[in-house]
C-alpha cells in the first residue's frame, strides 16, 4: 500500500512497530512505533503521559513528510 500511494508522488510515512516489514514493503519514511496492538499509544502509562508520547510520535511523522530523503530513512 505504501508504495502504491507514493507512486502518485505523495510523500507517505509508515508508522509501524516492525520496521523490517516497513522496509520490505517499500516504505521510504519510517517512524518506529511502540507495539503491535497499540502502535501510537501505551496503555501502561494511560493519561497525559500517553498523550505526550503519541504527540511525539505523530510530530516525528509529520516532520518526516517535510524532510527530503533519498533512500529508506528511519526517523527515530
Amino acid at each position: 500500500m505504501v508504495k502504491e500511494i507514493e507512486r502518485y508522488g505523495i510523500p507517505i510515512v509508515h508508522m509501524s512497530t516492525i520496521t523490517t516489514i516497513s522496509q520490505a514493503v517499500g516504505a521510504n519514511r519510517i517512524v518506529p512505533t511502540i507495539a503491535i496492538p497499540h502502535p501510537v499509544g501505551n496503555p501502561s502509562i494511560a493519561g497525559p503521559g500517553e498523550e505526550a508520547l503519541r504527540r511525539d510520535l505523530v510530530e516525528r511523522a509529520v516532520k518526516s513528510l517535510g524532510t527530503p530523503v533519498e533512500d529508506i530513512t528511519i526517523f527515530d
Binding site: S16, I18, T19, I21
Partner: protein, 141 residues
C-alpha cells in the same frame, strides 16, 4: 533453560507435565497463531515454526517450543512466524485432512518434539535467539 510446548497433539499432552504445556484445542494453524501471539508479546521462539518435510506440514498436529519469559520483542522472530503462517496456508489450501492417519502423525510429531527438546537442552545456553535468516516477504501494510 526452560521452555514451554505449544501443541494441539493429545499424545504430547499425555506425556508432558501440564506446567510445560500450552495446549490448543484446535488445528495446526491455531498452534501457529498461538505461537505468533506469544512471539508478539516477547516470548522467545525456540523452534522453527514449520517442519522440514512437506508431509509433516500436512499433519493435523504440531508442537512448537517457545521460551517461558517475556523479553524484548524480537522482530526477526515475528517475521519468521508471520511468514510461516502465510506459507502454511499456501501449502495446505488444497489438502484434505487424513483422520485415518491422525495417530501416526501424533506419534511422529511427538518424537520430533522430543528430538527438539533434546537439542535445546544439549545446547545448554540461555542466549536469546537473534534470527536474521532471510528477508521475509511480508504482505502486511
Amino acid at each position: 533453560m526452560s521452555y514451554r510446548i505449544v501443541t494441539n497433539n493429545p499424545s504430547v499432552r499425555e506425556n508432558f507435565q501440564d506446567s510445560k504445556l500450552i495446549f490448543i484445542d484446535g488445528s495446526y494453524e491455531d498452534v501457529l497463531i498461538k505461537v505468533r501471539d506469544l512471539v508478539h508479546s516477547g516470548v522467545e521462539l525456540i523452534d522453527s515454526p514449520l517442519g522440514a518435510s512437506i508431509r509433516m506440514l500436512l499433519s493435523p498436529y504440531r508442537s512448537i517450543l517457545v521460551g517461558t519469559e517475556r523479553q524484548a520483542m524480537n522482530m526477526d522472530q515475528i517475521l519468521l512466524i508471520e511468514q510461516s503462517i502465510l506459507n502454511y496456508r499456501t501449502l495446505t489450501q488444497r489438502r484434505k485432512s487424513e483422520p485415518q492417519h491422525a495417530n501416526d502423525y501424533a506419534v511422529v510429531d511427538k518424537e520430533l518434539l522430543k528430538a527438539s527438546i533434546q537439542a535445546y537442552e544439549d545446547m545448554n545456553c540461555q542466549t536469546h535467539s537473534k534470527f536474521t535468516g532471510g528477508e521475509f516477504l511480508e504482505t502486511r501494510a
